[in-house]
Subunit: 468 residues, 2 copies
């Protein structure tokens, strides 16, 4: 699978100098993302594209072979082009073209022809009907829609059966400051499926969390085995769970309907974190940006009594415990209180103290207690100027990593100076929730994942369960 | 209740020229929001505050009386100040000061003294332990934290038992482009409670939707009656539903714990839209920015097959029906398709058409069908430049209001040109969801509200149900 992410040369097949040609966009993406390898545009009409010459055929590429070819041509031309690739020695191909079995069963023969050709050349293929791969480590960027290098590099790798949903996640990760490592769109999964790629991404040393968007699961037994033994969190949005979507899924990525009750039970057993939508996905992905949560006891620190109430409700909803806070902490807080109109307990309301720069210290005292496994900090009410707010949140991240316990950061304040763009800036800075319930939902997903990691039955026990 | 929102003169009691004085902030807010009425700062030390002279007592205000006084002084001083207000003829008072029964039962005698004084002067009071009122129609702005006039004026009025949660909602409404009309924080609800204010806001011609954040419900029977007969949607976040939060709620706004199963059933029966958190609240508030949804049949129009699948699942989850789209629409779309690789159905995937400016026309054709009650438009995939995207979304809002049916707008695209701030700009422009499931959840809340409005049993039937 590495060849799909670390090629040193890429042929883009289906390029012309026409202004509406989509192949050009792939070339531009590679250039914009700073891809260091060789780029070979290929298209029957030849011509030029900036500094690059469009070769009339794959055979005419002036190199002994190419590591990876991406095809964006009418579906009918694909088998022949695969043959040309084979002759050139190309062993990794991505077929972005649509027009295969997602349009109906009469296209199955075309797919069979593709499969035969792959076999003949011992070639591996991602797609068809996909948007390719991205690797932020190398600048590989193969989608046929324009991408900009505003994507933050990090540890999350995305595997998606839908290009559109994959792009949605790229944008969400941009907006939420979540760093991406690799991206792969698998489309119809005619050859390479989610399992091989998931296995690769789990082993990839630069990936820390894997996110999957799936419309069907082709080999559930194997998926379960892979996820079960993964030391890294695997977060899954599995759609196509209703009769209403089945019809659509079939014509989108030729996806089959799995019985969702079976899917649900199986994913849970395998320790997969299942999310229902992109909002829920971000809650999990943010939680995994923090040190692991290894227990059920939380300290909640806020500046608003209302958020203390809301957070306590959410603790109850997600089965967290709020132990008494250490007296040392309460004494420190007491010293800072102005009007004495707030009772000190857990959740701890700091609304009557007026030195927000002390908040990270308070959180640290709580986190260093043995019976506290993590904290939630709710920035509600005024905690100073924009720079002061940023400083407090960054210090809290530092504290979390120093102590090795998570602090879920939550911003729920009216911020008069800047509003909207300020919240956006904060999100780029730290993993930030915008409601206490969201923070606790995220922490619950992390807690359940790490609890399983600690006390796990041997993988063989789960081998009996099968999804599809 | 009108007196709390439309005073022509306001006395702010507890102002000094010290730089840490919170009363000053109230004065600044009134000035910044352009309050046209008279403003009288009052504080025992006197002095000046910009152009305004701080009067040493309420009696010294150079006017026969004052419409509204807001008190921000130590709790113990409140009864005496209320007496001074009474003598001056003030009949509406907001007590922002904390330090009453939320700190413990020994403060109950102080509360009793307050109640006696109110009775003596036939005076009405909001609070104590609250952040006051805002009326964007008049520039009245009484919170003791700095506010900026970046709040959009609109039809949503907010009634909150927690200042902090109220501010969170103000910020969320700013970020989501949701216009506010009035805001009131009720705190301990010693005199004026949610019911009188809710009744007032429902009758207020400028309020179109009421949002309530409550930690307890004091007279459930009456709340139910008021909400039941409301032609306007009433959205409620009711917290303090667990043993964990009860302890906190008690010390925050002296709130009592209601049995949440009873609350849940009662709110539902009264047609109140209950939300679990601020995220869910925005889904409802956005839905009510659109024309009413008067049925179960939706047309879903998207540019990504994956989002078609996700949306179809959400339709199934929230019990929506996806009827066949009119052949006229499918013919129009067919003409625009380029590669012919997408099947035309409902959800309708426009990913193979390349003229996004036609999308509003397609949605309009669907909406004008008798068996279509509303639409979801999912802007996924490339629909042009930033200005083109804005144009399409604005045209869709126009179409919705022309036809009188809602279009839930959903933005799920990777937008390379601008990212973050672009999504923020779009949210300020139109009621925008960021996931199809969110859009359908919002529509479901609207559908259920309007279904009830249509076929409602007489209010007396529900009078038997009691919450607290």
């Amino acid at each position: 699978m590495r060849g799909f992410f670390y090629p040193e040369s890429v042929a883009v097949v289906g390029v012309s100098s026409s202004p509406t040609n989509l192949g050009q966009i792939i070339i531009n993406n590679l250039v914009n993302f700073g891809f260091k390898g060789k780029i070979y545009p290929v298209g029957p009409k030849g011509g030029r594209l900036g500094d690059l010459e469009i070769k009339e055929s794959i055979a005419k590429i002036p190199a002994p072979t190419v590591d990876l070819a991406i095809l964006l041509t009418p579906a009918a031309a694909v088998p022949e082009l695969l043959d040309e690739c084979g002759e050139k020695g190309v062993r990794r191909v991505i077929v972005s073209s649509g027009g295969f079995s997602e349009l109906g069963e009469e296209r199955l023969s075309l797919e069979n022809k593709v499969l035969e050709t792959l076999k003949k050349w011992k070639m591996r293929m991602i797609g068809p009907n996909c948007v390719g791969t991205i690797n932020l480590e190398t600048g590989l960027c193969l989608p046929f829609v324009p991408m900009l290098r505003n994507i933050k590099k990090g540890g999350i790798s995305i595997l998606t059966q839908s290009g559109g949903v994959g792009f949605e996640y790229l944008q969400i990760c941009c907006d939420e400051g979540l760093g991406i490592n690799k991206f792969v769109s698998v489309g119809n999964k005619l050859d390479v499926g989610e399992n091989e790629l998931l296995e690769y991404l789990i082993e990839d040393p630069l990936t820390t969390t894997v996110f999957l968007y799936l419309e069907d699961i082709k080999d559930g037994r194997n998926l379960m085995k892979i996820a079960y033994s993964s030391p890294k969190p695997v977060v899954v949005q599995k759609s196509n769970v209703s009769q209403a979507s089945f019809r659509v899924g079939r014509s989108h990525t030729a996806a089959l309907l799995n019985d969702d009750r079976v899917v649900k039970a199986a994913l849970k057993q395998a320790g997969i974190i299942r999310v229902r939508d992109s909002h829920e996905a971000t809650l999990a992905l943010k939680a995994f940006q923090m040190p692991p949560l290894r227990g059920n006891n939380l300290a909640i620190i806020t500046r608003s009594g209302g958020h203390a109430v809301v957070a306590a409700d959410a603790c109850s909803e997600f089965n967290f415990h709020l132990p008494e806070l250490p007296s040392k902490l309460l004494e420190e807080v007491q010293k800072e209180m102005r009007a004495g109109v707030i009772k000190l307990q857990n959740p701890l309301d700091l609304g009557d103290t007026f030195n927000p720069s002390l908040h990270p210290k308070f959180v640290e005292i709580a986190l260093r207690e043995e019976n506290i496994d993590g904290a939630v900090f709710i920035a509600s009410g005024n905690i100073g100027s924009g720079d002061e707010v940023k400083g407090v949140l960054q210090d809290l991240v530092r504290v979390a990593f120093e102590v090795g316990k998570p602090v879920a950061l939550c911003y729920c304040a009216y911020f008069p100076e800047a509003g909207l763009s300020f919240l956006g800036t904060l999100k780029m800075l730290v993993p930030l929730y915008t409601s206490p319930r969201d923070a606790l939902k995220g922490l619950a997903m992390a807690r359940d994942f790490f609890a399983r990691q600690k006390s796990r039955a041997p993988a063989s026990v789960y081998g009996v369960c099968q999804v599809s």
